[in-house]
């Protein structure tokens, strides 16, 4: 079995008939050595990821007392569903999820497709990819300068005589959540562009040329010939965007602190508020568990669908 064959067999969990020719005596040793190689990874994931999760689930069943917490069954969860701030936070999380999937995927694809075959494309791409190299906090500071009521955007609008469009961008819900998502997309689209460019290079020229010969042109050719061949890339971009949307924190924290009046919180920010600012470890743990369930459920559903298609 070649190395790539072996990797594929591990990745897919499939085993070829040729494996059966392996001498039976070596199988036990081989299994043990495989387990040995797995052990460090299992230990690391177990200690650093699963154990804290189990501890967090346990903590969510106790009350909010910092000292000597009492077992409280599901009271923390009951409080979450009756707390309008958390409900709004859940709504914002859904908005982030939708926004951070649609915008980077759409923009990334459009920019990559439009600039892949023009001579000045590399400069356009550089400008779009560059923000991806910045930290979330730096991006938030720059956007704060832009979006404040007395910031650059409103100054520009007022300078152009468009006073009616000037707006306290960060102060009114749901507009503030939408501009936060747009600011995030400005940064996140860069990676989607890179991935789509790689994907576009992998599209065989023959398929595009054959379509051209058959008279399929322009948008039709793109949507019917190119796009279906980018399915793998789209899967990766959407996967990354889903994860980014659900864990969005730094930009929100620096730009608005989740405010005003907790209006721009997502579940990740609410978890931080409850746990570390309000010192409510029980409620914080309950939000963490809910967020984990949402992330795992969406990721598993999405990956299952993708793997099934493959």
């Amino acid at each position: 079995m070649t190395a790539s064959h072996e990797t594929r067999a591990i990745a897919t969990g499939r085993r070829d008939a040729s494996d059966a020719s392996m001498p039976t005596g070596g199988r036990g040793t081989r299994a043990r050595s495989r387990l040995l190689f797995l052990l460090p990874a299992v230990l690391l994931v177990g200690v650093l990821s699963l154990a804290p999760f189990v501890w967090t689930v346990g903590r969510s069943l106790f009350d909010d007392a910092v000292i000597d917490p009492q077992f409280n069954w599901f009271a923390s969860y009951a409080r979450l569903v009756s707390d309008p701030v958390i409900i709004k936070s859940l709504g914002n999380t859904v908005m982030w999820l939708v926004g951070t999937v649609i915008i980077p995927v759409g923009l990334g694809l459009a920019i990559a497709a439009l600039t892949s075959s023009v001579s000045w494309g590399r400069w356009a791409r550089l400008a779009i990819v560059l923000p991806y190299a910045l930290s979330g906090t730096a991006v938030a500071v720059v956007w704060n300068f832009m979006l404040q009521d007395s910031g650059a955007l409103n100054s520009l609008l007022r300078g152009l005589g468009l006073d009616a469009l000037a707006h306290p961008w960060l102060l009114e819900w749901p507009g503030n959540t939408i501009v936060l998502i747009l600011a995030n997309s400005w940064q996140a689209s860069g990676v989607a562009v890179i991935l789509y460019l790689v994907g576009l290079q992998g599209v065989p020229r023959e398929t595009v040329e054959a379509a051209a010969l058959d008279g399929v042109d322009g948008l039709k050719r793109f949507f019917h010939i190119v796009l279906p061949q980018l399915r793998g890339t789209t899967a990766v971009v959407m996967g990354i965007s889903l994860a980014n949307g659900l864990k969005s924190f730094d930009l929100i924290w620096v730009l608005t602190n989740g405010g005003p009046g907790r209006a721009t919180e997502t579940l990740a920010v609410s978890m931080y508020w409850q746990s570390f600012v309000l010192q409510r470890p029980g409620s914080g743990a309950a939000i963490a568990v809910v967020l984990t369930i949402v992330v795992v459920a969406i990721s598993v559903a999405y990956l299952r669908k993708q793997l099934k298609n493959d």
């Binding site: 007392a65 000292i67 007395s150 306290p168 960060l170 405010g259 010192q279």
Partner: protein, 425 residues
């Protein structure tokens, strides 16, 4: 190098670094040149701390090694987390009142009663501040700074528009109208970073009804009282008239905005805020001045005070030494360089405030028996304060529904006070 040798070497190096990281850096310090590891949230105050530390070292052998986390909420979480470890800092800057009680109730703070009593007996400290640092009859902190919230203003702007410091609320409103009419935003406030909301709320509530505000902080008045409604209606009107800067303004820009005449007044404490203006080369008296905010209904003058303290983590490896050192913290020789750095703000009555305006206001407050009220940030259980300031921050952004906000505040107050009473029983 063989792969195995490389891996073993890299593994051992990683282990060594990990162990070194877990070690207490203070263990390597000798007896000479010892310094208290001092956590604080004011980055620009580092040289002041070090200047006080030099004097402290002459008295006790311990200097001050300031380490700053400049973001207020990040600072709070780092300190709370560190207090749970076996290796917390030696000294921490922390709020007085309920903020300090919130730490003391967990058993994380060392008793500073001996240092307090010694300072009082030497006349370095007024015992009237004791309640700000007391939890269950024990003292857990010493004052680092004391300030009074006043309205700073740009002297030139006031002169240009023929304005004088207002003595009544009506005069104050006239000043606001005149500034607004001249295209200058009258009052600099923001909800950015949450805690600044508590400053203006405390000032306006104290001006509206200092007695009600004090009772609110003692949980004997509520947000459903008519006073609360009146206060919020007044605030709503002020926001709607455009007296305030946008709710998303950056507080750090206010000194510069005052200098550039974009704002007319800046509600902030004497004396340490005068340092921000002096750093911009504004001269006390010539470029800026300050006045006490008049009361709304003409009741006797009242002012909001902020007292921040020094607390000592019980688990600090040097806890015994640090509690001894703290007995010298309020020594005038130590306080003078510290106070000079902040243009005042020392809680030692023997140490004069150097900024002329701050000194004038301090004297006025003391001699005219002005009612002194604690700031809301330290004046109620911390989770309630955070919840209330968040809601009020929302109100500053959208002042459409004051009664809805008050109902939300009242509900928070009911649950948080009952939680606090239960937790501290």
């Amino acid at each position: 190098m063989e792969r195995r040798t490389f891996l073993i070497g890299a593994g051992l190096a990683g282990l060594g670094l990990g162990l070194a990281g877990c070690a207490d850096p203070r263990a390597a310090q000798g007896q000479q040149g010892r310094a208290l590891q001092f956590f604080n949230d004011a980055a620009s105050w580092g040289s002041g701390y070090r200047a006080a530390g030099e004097q402290l070292a002459k008295k006790t052998g311990w200097a001050i090694d300031p380490q700053t986390i400049p973001n207020a909420s990040a600072y709070e979480q780092v300190v709370r987390s560190l207090l749970q470890t076996r290796n917390p800092p030696d000294l921490v800057k922390w709020g007085s009142g309920y903020r300090m009680q919130d730490l003391a109730r967990t058993g994380a703070l060392a008793d500073l009663g001996a240092a307090w009593d010694e300072s009082v007996s030497k006349g370095w400290l007024s015992d009237s501040l004791r309640s700000a640092f007391t939890y269950r009859d024990r003292v857990y902190g010493l004052p680092l700074i004391q300030g009074f919230y006043v309205m700073f203003y740009d002297v030139e702007v006031f002169a240009e528009h023929g304005l004088t410091p207002p003595k009544t609320w009506d005069e104050f409103l006239r000043v606001c109208d005149a500034l607004k009419g001249a295209g200058i935003t009258p009052i600099a406030t923001t909800q950015n970073n949450i805690w600044p909301v508590a400053n203006w709320f405390s000032m306006l509530a104290t001006a509206y009804d200092a007695d009600w505000f004090s009772r609110l902080c003692a949980n004997s008045a509520t947000f459903r009282d008519p006073e609360a409604h009146g206060l919020m209606t007044l605030w709503q009107e002020m926001i709607r008239k455009g007296y305030h800067t946008s709710a998303d303004s950056v507080g750090d820009n206010f000194p510069g905005m005052l200098q550039n005449k974009k704002i007319g007044m800046w509600p902030t404490p004497v004396s340490w805020s005068s340092q921000n203006l002096q750093q911009l080369e504004m001269v006390s008296g010539r470029d800026y001045d300050a006045f006490l905010l008049p009361t709304v209904h003409g009741t006797p003058a009242a002012v909001v005070t902020e007292v921040a303290g020094l607390v000592v983590p019980q688990r600090s490896p040097n806890v015994a030494d640090v509690t001894d050192v703290m007995a010298s913290w309020l020594d005038p020789d130590v306080q003078q360089p510290w106070s000079d750095f902040l243009s005042g703000s020392s809680a030692n009555p023997q140490v004069p405030w150097t900024d002329e305006i701050s000194q004038r206001l301090q004297t006025k407050i003391r001699e005219e028996n002005v009612t002194v009220v604690n700031r809301y940030w330290e004046g109620s259980p911390p989770p309630l304060v955070v919840g209330v300031t968040q809601d009020l921050g929302g109100f500053m952004a959208d002042p459409g529904d004051p009664d809805g906000v008050l109902e939300s505040l009242a509900q928070k107050a009911t649950s948080e006070w009952s939680y606090w009473t239960e937790a501290t029983r």
